[in-house]
């Protein structure tokens, strides 16, 4: 089990070895692409560029996240990474390695609009998201949260929503109803845009993902069909 996590975590770093390309962009796949991000490839040269993990508290939000990683492949950087992997301690994953190696030299991609985390729509406070990277540490946010605006500006949404399972796993409708973002009831009519967007994100992902027809999928509806006349009668 541990070996598998390790190997998966490191495979992401293999893109540093794709020297056939001038620049490559890694995207975490448990996500939805809302718009292409082609313009990132035209940024000024830089060995690595990543957004910061804005959703963390305290100092950890100054760390880079590897969910969106713009890389200029090079043999030199790849050998640095491989030796870091060899020397890595057990608790060190790709994120720690990349931060150790490039924490001072990597360019910062704006976390708006590149990785919007789906859990943002459920958060009580949106300060961390609304802060621009250059105002880390500052108290002034100077902007109101508007779920529709945020969704429209986002190009890439990453599913991270503990305790809600990833969108290809089963969340019972009842559980999702409990967990979905609440409507803003400060003014009338209540603003449910965040809730609608969040639910759309999950439904869109599930509808694009394969729909398997197996015995399990037949039996559950079947048991309903068999018992439904009874339910109507009683």
């Amino acid at each position: 089990m541990a070996a598998e996590t390790w190997s998966e975590s490191y495979t992401k770093l293999l893109i540093f070895n794709l020297t056939h390309y001038d620049r490559v962009l890694h995207l975490d796949s448990d996500s939805t692409v809302l718009e292409p991000m082609d313009e990132l490839f035209l940024l000024p040269p830089s060995p690595v560029a990543m957004p910061k993990a804005y959703w963390f508290d305290d100092d950890r939000r100054k760390l880079f996240t590897t969910g969106v990683m713009l890389v200029q492949p090079s043999e030199h950087e790849f050998s640095r990474i491989m030796s870091a992997v060899e020397a890595a301690r057990k608790e060190e994953y790709d994120m720690e390695i990349v931060n150790n190696l490039f924490g001072d030299s990597a360019d910062v991609l704006p976390h708006r609009p590149y990785p919007l985390v789906s859990g943002e729509f459920r958060a009580n406070s949106h300060e961390k998201y609304l802060r621009r990277p250059d105002s880390y540490g500052g108290d002034d946010v100077g902007e109101e949260w508007d779920a529709t605006d945020v969704f429209n500006e986002a190009k890439f949404v990453h599913f991270s929503d503990w305790p809600v399972a990833k969108p290809w796993r089963y969340n019972s409708p009842r559980f999702k109803g409990l967990q979905e973002p609440k409507c803003e009831k400060m003014f009338q009519p209540a603003d449910c845009s965040g809730q609608r967007i969040w639910n759309w994100l999950y439904e869109d992902f599930a509808s694009r993902r394969k729909v398997r027809v197996g015995l399990v999928q037949v039996l559950i509806p079947l048991s309903y069909v068999l018992t439904s006349p009874v339910r109507l009668r009683s």
């Binding site: 620049r23 995207l27 796949s29 027809v213 399990v216 039996l219 009874v230």
Partner: protein
Amino acid sequence: MIVLGSKLAGAGAEPPPSPRRAPNLPEVLASKLLRNTVALLSAIAFACYAFRHASVADFYAAATAAAALAYDHALIEVGAGAMTKVSTRATPVMPSFEGPSSPLPTTMIFASAKTDEVREEDTVDDSEDRWGDGSKDEEDAKVDWSRFAYTQYVTGIDYLCNSIMLFESLHRLESKPDRVLLYPSDMMDSEEMEPKTRDARLLVQARDKYAVKLLPVSVQHRDAADS
């Protein structure tokens, strides 16, 4: 005997319905025993099926669904007891979770019919020379997009499916750079034309439908390096 007895007991009173007569078919169907037996049997059947054919994750999903089913059933019982005809849930639960992973008849649906049409038009003009003359503004025409690539790495089926969906999105949204998929070399031969396994079929689909370049890699095992 009974008829005689009732005649003796009350003059003019309606005889109470006999509790002993054989139940007719609708009553059998309506019986709580049958209802619960069917629900229980189907829950057990698919639990057994999942246990036999599926991975732990699939089994977990099936168990969750079974629990949800049982819970709904209980609610409906309560509703019926309170003489309401409104069922607690208007539509049956149709969970969209993954089924057992291997030897099942499977259907793959990746996108709506609308996007399928777009995709078919797309496959007419091909991926190689598409970016050379297809660009609209001049600035784009100067850029050699083949020097750039979106990359994905996959290790297992869950993430293989996600990665292909991501490439499908980029393809559908007409993104210009290359698309490169790194996959473990033992998953498929890179020149495979007639894929046998499910993983290989997905890889070939990505290559042929969404113009994804496949790149086999040997997966790094930390533990192997240690020993």
